[in-house]
Symmetry: C2
Amino acid sequence: MARIVQKFGGTSVGDIARIKNVAKRVKAEVDRGNQVAVVVSAMSGVTNQLVAYCTEIAPLHDQHEYDAVVATGEQVTSGLLAIALQELGVPARSWAGWQLPITTDDAHGKARIMSIDGAGIIKRMEEGQVAVIAGFQGLGPDNRVTTLGRGGSDTTAVAVAAAVKADRCDIYTDVDGVYTTDPRIVPSARKLDKITYEEMLESASSGAKVLQTRSVEMAMKHHVRVQVLSSFSDAPGTLVCDEEEIVEKELVSGIAYSRDEAKVTLVGVEDHPGIAAGIFGPLAAANINVDMIVQNISHDGTTDITFTTTRTELDRALQVVKDNMKVPYKSLSSDKSVVKVSVIGVGMRSHAGVAQTMFKALADKNINIHVISTSEIKVSVLISEEYTELALRALHTAYGLDAA
Amino acid sequence: MARIVQKFGGTSVGDIARIKNVAKRVKAEVDRGNQVAVVVSAMSGVTNQLVAYCTEIAPLHDQHEYDAVVATGEQVTSGLLAIALQELGVPARSWAGWQLPITTDDAHGKARIMSIDGAGIIKRMEEGQVAVIAGFQGLGPDNRVTTLGRGGSDTTAVAVAAAVKADRCDIYTDVDGVYTTDPRIVPSARKLDKITYEEMLESASSGAKVLQTRSVEMAMKHHVRVQVLSSFSDAPGTLVCDEEEIVEKELVSGIAYSRDEAKVTLVGVEDHPGIAAGIFGPLAAANINVDMIVQNISHDGTTDITFTTTRTELDRALQVVKDNMKVPYKSLSSDKSVVKVSVIGVGMRSHAGVAQTMFKALADKNINIHVISTSEIKVSVLISEEYTELALRALHTAYGLDAA
């Protein structure tokens, strides 16, 4: 007997026929003698419709009301899946976020889960009842419904898995696992059997959209074993787990990329202590996400500072820089046609030369690197968007990731 | 300053443009210096869609899950209207049934309101915040969402009005008031300025669909003054109120009709004490609504018993009668093409001859009466459905209700 949390995304529950299929998958897990909790997203398209309603009434709407409106999508799916399970003879009941409850902070629209009371559903799971939980939502300290932000159902699933001490959290999605890189661009990409939390985290924050960053963070923190697999096939997926569970570690596990990048350069910034804080403080205060930051060495007392942000936030970022009178600069430029390519692997910790392989592979294809940033298990470069496919294929080959 | 509860039905909030219009109506009431709470239905079509989902998965689905699914429609509208009000500068917040809370019994799918905690919203209304409340729903003793059954938002509105001691409860709908009879059938029908709770109650239970029966019962019990008016015009509506508020009472205030009728006749039932209980006990146990009942005098020790039920329940009713071995009968017949026509008026209490006027008017048109039943302020007859329009026009004229 194992205790399993299953999570099904919007396309997996996109219509009634698919909800019935999901019920069969859940039943199969129950029939194997396992205790099961299920976390569901809204039927595909529903969340977008509800968000569009809010935005149509008022582009800048109250996040409390946005949450009240948008969270209903998952509530509908949870009730429908409970009915579908009962129809198959599987005892089941739905749970809205406020019912468990899943308590969150009060950051409406992008709340963080504070705690989940698992006692109620553990008792029912032990009695054979499947808990069908509405993902993406919780209850704020003000007794109002909160949502966790896009992709939040993954986080709900991992948090529930941690709360009920599940043996595994299966995230069903429309891809059948985690690949060495995007197979739509690199046909020789391979599906990984296992990947470490750290690598998955770097992949997620580097643009791979398989799992939401926060859900991986939570899985890593609580040692929740997460399997990513397809709800449309029976193939085994990719297990995201502790490094110790992976016997044969590869030097590089994957190449990620993100097109949602924009580059901003301030030329001729007066170079003195506190200048970086002077620039990035106002950006942080405006809640603008800054990713890569590069400062060149100064000459003639001035320096150039380049940073990246998301394309949607670029205009706001530029405005903040312009309005910021405390940091004078000579000129300001920006570029939206850039892409971030990242090479990721826990093997880097113990192997030198990984970055050099990347730089050489790109140089061989005459691809110019705008910005470089590195972490313990990742090397990222910013390049012109037009080279995306070429760079991914070259790097995939250079690191020996191509399928045999 | 008055305290007003406004209720808007599905067609009034049918799309975003209409929700914005509703917000303007609410604002107008606020601008008059009044304290306002609003109760909303789901956007038209949404509830039907959600019910269809449940039924598509399992025709006989768990009512707990049905409630969890279907109640989301009103939650969406309440959030959207709150956003629309805020956009007009009116402080507002949405309330789901479980948040106030509106507590109900545990009869999922057709729950009854037990109590409403009005303290929270009264305080906010006094501070100028409009409470936008999701209708049709509440919180059961099991901490799960309940729904009140179709038309339940009217009941929510009246219950909220009672809880906050409102001066008036305005029910906005797609008709502009209560008419002497259905104006689509009788063009000379007149809109009433006022009608008593008792008359409204008899109208509702006699087929007039303006207000839900339970909402009128609740209004009568708590002396909530209810105004029925159109959300698409600025004309005053019809006030439903205590008899004392109506100076000039008419003998008959309206002619109602219901097509949702079916007649069942048991011929040759052995006539002895307890036979009615023997027939109607099992029907009640099967939760089948029986309306009119007629038992003829017996001859040769047997009698005929006729009763009416709704058309949708006819097949189940016949099955219950057939399965009931304790009451033998010679033959069983049923008829779905019947209609109930009712003449209603508190004036009947003090005036004789009202029923006679009805019988004569119908006889003059050669309309045969199948069944008759009477109450203190109502005379109902069952006739063949094909005579519906003819009967309504004849009665409307006979009672002097035609517009001048």
